[in-house]
Amino acid sequence: MNPIHRAVLLFCAVSALSTAGAYAQQSQSTEQAIEKYREAVSEENPAELWEARGEALWKQPRGPKHVSLEQCDIGLGPGVVKGAYTVLPKYFSDTGKVQDLESRLVTCMGTLQGISPEEAKKNHFGNGPKKSVMEALVAYITSESRGMPMRVSLARPEEKEAYEIGKRMFFYRAGPHDFSCATCHSHDNLRIRLQDLPNLTNPKDAQRAYTTWPGYRVSQGEVRTMQHRLNDCYRQQRFPEPGYASDAITALTTYLAVNANGGTYNAPSVKR
């Protein structure tokens, strides 16, 4: 059986279990099935399909200018992909602002390829046949930082400012449910249902959480990025929707990434 067939079969088995209901024993066996699934795919992570597609998209001449992204500066200079994700978000002098990976890709698609920001952000979260260019590029670029330590800098005042704003966003409690990020993610050893909640103010947990995004989400059959994770957290927080690759999300990501500094980057991973 090839890896894709195996992944699909296992995914179907897990889906069948997870739709079987919310009751205890079933939930437990769902967790066990996912654990088995994780073991089974650990050597053939379906995210590799996204990484391969992303690498092709990175090198392929695209857009009105018909050039590739290969000269894009994503943090370590034009054309350097290896290790670049470990320094993001960072300040870029050409745009005069702190950018995360997605924001930076939108910039490069504009300057190098002539693609509008709207077009660049189209289908930003893939859904079955509607594949996302961004998620594939992010899967490829992040995979090139695997095994390297996170080292996001706060040397520039703009970076420090982004971190401070991100920290305020993290603790910002609002909406009909009075939730903030901190409600679930500022205490050690808590669970929501059976899911462990990382304390993102604690370096050890922050490292473990941050360095494992993007992940191939078994429950969704998609590679999901940190950008998507934050979007989904805000949905569950009952907040309005944060703009994709926006300055606000970059600020929050800066806070989380700095808290994860020193952790060994290890994604795309496989997740629930």
């Binding site: 400012e161 009909p176 939730f179 669970r191 249902r193 999300i249």
Partner: protein
């Protein structure tokens, strides 16, 4: 007895002094935190209304603001501030006009199981859930429970099934901030997440002797 009273008076006095100092510190931080106002402005610029999740949800009430500042600074709310907030929240609780608190525990169990409601992808016309199991252990059968809140298993058996317990639980679900300022639990009644009948059903889940919570 007299010395004890005096001692308590002393402790309360010191507490008040500390609380006043705490309030002064909080007022100073409210005016002085540039990053806080920048964060709010940035969210208002970059967040978009989606479905029922409109931008006014980013506006904080005084309680949310006070709790945000306390959490950010890693300090607990000064006692006097907590009491003042709790009292103002207590005034929001509307107890059932018919004086009965106990609904149907089976309906309560369904409310405890579902977390839908108020999200941008939820249908605002459909009833919301309480999602109690996300944070609390309730029945013995449901092993998929969270630990953000305390276990409520055997709640009625340990706390009593009487009207006082029922009224307390009704009020606690309606507005937890009236009892514990800066609680992580949503104000289900005060914010219109659950209806009066739904809250009664949740009360029954905790306090009906036949509910799985008390088995």
């Amino acid at each position: 007895m007299k010395t004890r009273t005096l001692r308590i008076a002393g402790v309360v006095g010191a507490g008040v002094a500390l609380a006043i100092a705490g309030c002064a510190a909080m007022n100073a931080s409210q005016g002085g935190d540039k990053a806080e106002s920048e964060a709010v402005a940035l969210m208002k610029k970059d967040f978009k209304p989606h479905g029922q999740a409109t931008l006014d949800r980013l506006d904080q009430d005084p309680l949310q603001k006070a709790c945000t500042e306390a959490a950010e600074s890693g300090k607990v709310l000064p006692a006097s501030e907590a009491t003042r907030l709790q009292q103002s929240q207590l005034a929001t609780i509307r107890y059932p006009a018919d004086g009965s608190y106990l609904g149907d525990w089976k309906a309560g169990e369904k409310i405890a199981q579902t977390g839908k409601g108020m999200q941008w992808n939820d249908d605002p016309k459909k009833a919301a859930g309480g999602n109690c199991y996300a944070c609390h252990q309730l029945s013995k059968a449901e092993l998929s429970y969270g630990t953000i809140g305390p276990s409520l298993y055997h709640f009625g058996r340990t706390r009593g099934f009487g009207t006082d317990s029922q009224k307390y639980v009704y009020g606690k679900v309606y507005n937890p901030e009236a009892f514990t300022a800066c609680s992580s639990m949503p104000r289900f009644g005060a914010h219109g997440i659950l209806t009066e009948q739904q809250i009664k059903d949740v009360v029954a889940l905790l306090l009906d002797p036949n509910s799985p919570v008390n088995q």
